[in-house]
Symmetry: C2
Amino acid sequence: MSTEEQGYFTEENSAEVVVSRNANAQNARLAEVIGILTRHLHAAVKEIEPTQEEWMQAILFLTETGHMCNDWRQEFILLSDVLGVSMLVDAINNRKPTGASESTVLGPFHVEDAPELPMGSNICLDQKGEPMLVKGRILSTGGHPIDQAKIDVWQANDEGFYDVQQKGIQPDFNLRGVFRTGPDGSYHFKGVKPKYYPIPADGPVGKMLESLGRHPYRPAHLHYILEADDFEPLITHIFDPDDPYIHSDAVFGVKESLLARFEWVEDVTRIAENGMDGPYYEVVHDFVLVPKGT
Amino acid sequence: MSTEEQGYFTEENSAEVVVSRNANAQNARLAEVIGILTRHLHAAVKEIEPTQEEWMQAILFLTETGHMCNDWRQEFILLSDVLGVSMLVDAINNRKPTGASESTVLGPFHVEDAPELPMGSNICLDQKGEPMLVKGRILSTGGHPIDQAKIDVWQANDEGFYDVQQKGIQPDFNLRGVFRTGPDGSYHFKGVKPKYYPIPADGPVGKMLESLGRHPYRPAHLHYILEADDFEPLITHIFDPDDPYIHSDAVFGVKESLLARFEWVEDVTRIAENGMDGPYYEVVHDFVLVPKGT
């Protein structure tokens, strides 16, 4: 229908009139996306019935959010995170068959050039925190061990900070490492028990969370990127199920299948068997990757 | 339902999990608004199924839009305008009884301190453009003339620019004036025929319009704020129905009832009767205001 036939904008036909203007779009996908967003946005506005002042508050919130963004702070990604949009996009793009390990958000703290380390290495370079041993296997959905799987792991320290947030305080590449499995698909490395931490809460998104009665914390977790030839890559976390924020991750990253058990081990035989120096947390977690083209 | 009972985030229950977090909001209206926006945003994302790259494009578009905003440029209002949201909010807040003049958007070019002029004055201070006489009456919905109605009018010039966009080129307060009716409710003033003009198109919103095959033009119009004791104020325009963009206003401001007729008058008797110097455009338009508390 042409815009002339469509008639002028009214409260009733608002979305249809706006969407009809995109009939000559060069970019068909953009027109589809903007069309869908327009319909849902108009439906939301009709349900909210904002006052002019509330509309202006929304304009100013978005403006402030934009002004908060710079080379090292992305407030719109934070907004997407706390509204569950980032996790929803992740879920849509990473639907997995039953039995496969699930994905979660990448987060802003991955670095590309972490060192590849011998299996069993301790990624904690400053001896701070409670010792942790993480081990398990990388398997295919068929149950077979995956040889030469690359495990890229990174974590916050016992105070909830990543190395890149504390340059000069933590050693470079602290609590990061890349490991490769052998034919049995097994892995193990040492680290420290991670701690919950807040997302940056000093901007408009943090103020919004506060007004909504929400806290800014993410429960303690380890980040992983797992890659192997002929398998879909997996970006995920494992979480401490005993963390006080496990049921209220500010960015909705927790999934049932990503809960690991952080077991406190004091048994001297097990301590000795695992080559630890004293009591430690033991985390056993297998990851299951999906063959490409499945 | 507590967040614990709600369970973890999944693709299926995404909006419910996010909204359930607002249960302890200090600001109940904010929680309502964010709840509605969250549900519609998640529905839109599920319909769009964006790739991770498309999601990042959206993040970067919002960031660029924010960075474009400064003291004299409001790119998020432009975005609201071109998506029809500004007009929808205007419509929701200005539902009028049958027979009343309809509202439209204020726009960014109103100034508070335009001079009050004797009825009949010419608001064109630089003699540029085609002469125009505008006249009519300010009436109540009951059909009675309104005494002491204040008419605040402003318009672009014959090239489509407001005085505030051309400081030093146009005289200050060019094509602006405030008039007050007498007991018969009538008004008349002189100006120049306005011209269509583009909204600012050199930012991300302009680029989006281009990709959508949309132009950035607003059809020629005059702006009004009408105020009178005991009546609801009215913010509106009148439009030239012969403008090439009358069916495709970039901000959706046109309404059927806001179309005026711009009649080209060459008749020497009418020219003399109306005190004009030569041929001119005559625009006759009555405005109908709504008594307060209706």
